[in-house]
Symmetry: C2
Subunit: 103 residues, 2 copies
């Protein structure tokens, strides 16, 4: 089982898009933040504040970054980066387990 060690986890979840996205916030010893979550099959647009790296743990999606015309496929073990204060479209075709790394 792939795990993240030495974190504090919020008991309360973050629920977005009527439950299509569910995550829990992780606080790391170095002060950084991650979320670990699930995106159910859907077509969603996420807005970013901080820059983030989305790590796909399981499932399948395609992603289009704001300002790009190209969709890119991602699956288990792959990741993509998104800048601050922008957005990305994500079409989840198989339920996604992900870790979002901030900062």
């Amino acid at each position: 089982m792939s795990i993240i060690h030495n974190v504090a986890v919020s008991k309360k979840s973050n629920i977005y898009f009527d439950g299509k996205c569910v995550s829990h916030t992780l606080l790391l010893a170095d002060g950084s933040k991650k979320t670990v979550g699930v995106i159910f099959p859907s077509q969603l647009t996420f807005n970013t504040a901080a820059p983030e790296v989305m790590e796909v743990v399981a499932g399948k999606c395609r992603v289009k970054l704001a300002g790009s015309d190209a969709w890119q496929d991602y699956g288990a073990g792959e990741r993509f980066s998104v800048g601050a204060n922008t957005s990305f479209q994500i079409d989840t075709t198989e339920t996604l387990d992900y870790v979002c790394h901030f900062g």
Copy 2:
């Protein structure tokens, strides 16, 4: 924010009942296990292996333990215990954030 400190968290989720229940597994320093998760509005029956304590972090549900005729209401800050190798019915009326403490 109510948090659980010093844990390892699984990157992959546990998804039950077509996504009505989503959780992540937490491993504690003492070797014990918890899950932190969400139950969306639904009527579900859970089977237990190990004994567990369900801590309701947010939301509302009513619960009927196997062998009982009585439904009991639970909300934020409340908890209920379930024995090993039994089951309970849970009617979630407002999306539930929970922590399940095993062992």
